[in-house]
């Protein structure tokens, strides 16, 4: 429980006005918030807006959240999801099939010949549900099941199973293009 104790102390310090404690929270959870926005298909520009509103709301609510600040990641992921959906608006269409508009930025798209680049492109060609799951899972540091559930609006108990399913689907796609998904194979 050491990591959660640190987060609680940082949140308490930030609530008293400590900018450095706040910066440490941003470093700790910044990728989770960004990954949530990108998992929901926001463009980088939309993602920047959703991320900023999420952090502004946390700043506004730091004192109110103090009892719950060992679940800060969950709160941030849920808020990032709501803000992402707000920016997408009602009646948004679910993206089907390959769509690189939420994929790698243009220069990276050209790096598709590298294994990393290929893996990344295949993630974005998965069905929506699995694209979202894998996009969240690859956050650094790895999110907890509760954080994944909050980011994707899933029951916590379903996260493990969906994760396994989506990795299986990913391997299936890689096999179809005759590239091994295992490290060390050429």
């Amino acid at each position: 429980m050491g990591a959660r104790f640190d987060e609680r102390r940082l949140a308490q310090a930030a609530a008293t006005g400590d900018q450095l404690a706040w910066d440490a929270l941003v470093d700790r959870f910044g990728e989770l918030v960004w990954s949530t926005a990108r998992a929901w298909g926001l463009t980088p520009e939309q993602g920047a807006d959703a991320v900023q509103v999420t952090w502004l709301r946390l700043a506004e609510q730091l004192e109110r959240l103090q009892e719950d600040d060992d679940r800060l990641g969950v709160w941030l992921a849920a808020t990032a999801r709501r803000e992402s959906l707000r920016l997408l608006g009602p009646g948004r269409e679910t993206r089907q099939g390959p769509d690189m508009s939420s994929g790698p930025p243009a220069p990276a798209a050209a790096a598709g010949s590298s294994r990393d680049g290929l893996l990344w492109r295949v993630v974005h060609e998965l069905p929506e549900r699995c694209r979202r799951m894998l996009r969240i899972l690859v956050t650094t540091p790895p999110p907890s099941h509760e954080e994944v559930a909050a980011a994707l609006d899933l029951p916590v108990a379903s996260v493990g199973g969906l994760r396994a399913d989506c990795l299986r689907v990913f391997r299936g796609r890689m096999a179809k293009i005759s590239i091994s998904a295992e490290i060390g194979d050429s």
């Binding site: 700790r28 991320v51 509103v53 709301r57 009602p90 790698p104 990393d116 680049g117 893996l119 990344w120």
Partner: protein, 164 residues
Amino acid sequence: MSHEPFDQHQGLDPQDERLLGELRRAAGRYDAPPASVMEAARASFTWRSIDTELAALAFDSAVDLPVGAVRSAGGPRQLAFDAPGLTVEMEVSPDGPHRRLRGQLTPPLPSHIEVRHAGGTTSVDTDALGRFSADAISPGPVSLRCHSTEAPSAPRFATEWVPL
């Protein structure tokens, strides 16, 4: 500072663990949060209000259309915020590249309002009926901070940040 390994590796077989590790590396390479986004997140701290009651977002026409409503293109956005003791209703319309806000406080206590937005802070006062308007508001996150000018000991309120 990271989660303990058990959090993530619950039930993951070694192959899946390795694959996720590769994908995580690819994510860091191709879709890390831009430095400007992280900087804005750090700077968000300076916008916090202390000693204010939060007026939570209760309605946003961008998300919560009433049942049967038809969304007209270009119609003003409607927002409502609730706190114990105050409701703030607001209509947002384009003002060139900026936004114009028209709103109403309930109860309609004469109040001073600070509109915090990407372009700075715009101060306005309500009229005797609790109505207010603010022009040239920059697009982006907005929060209103209000306090009654007739009852100085009344609580100060801040609306939840909303992107306009």
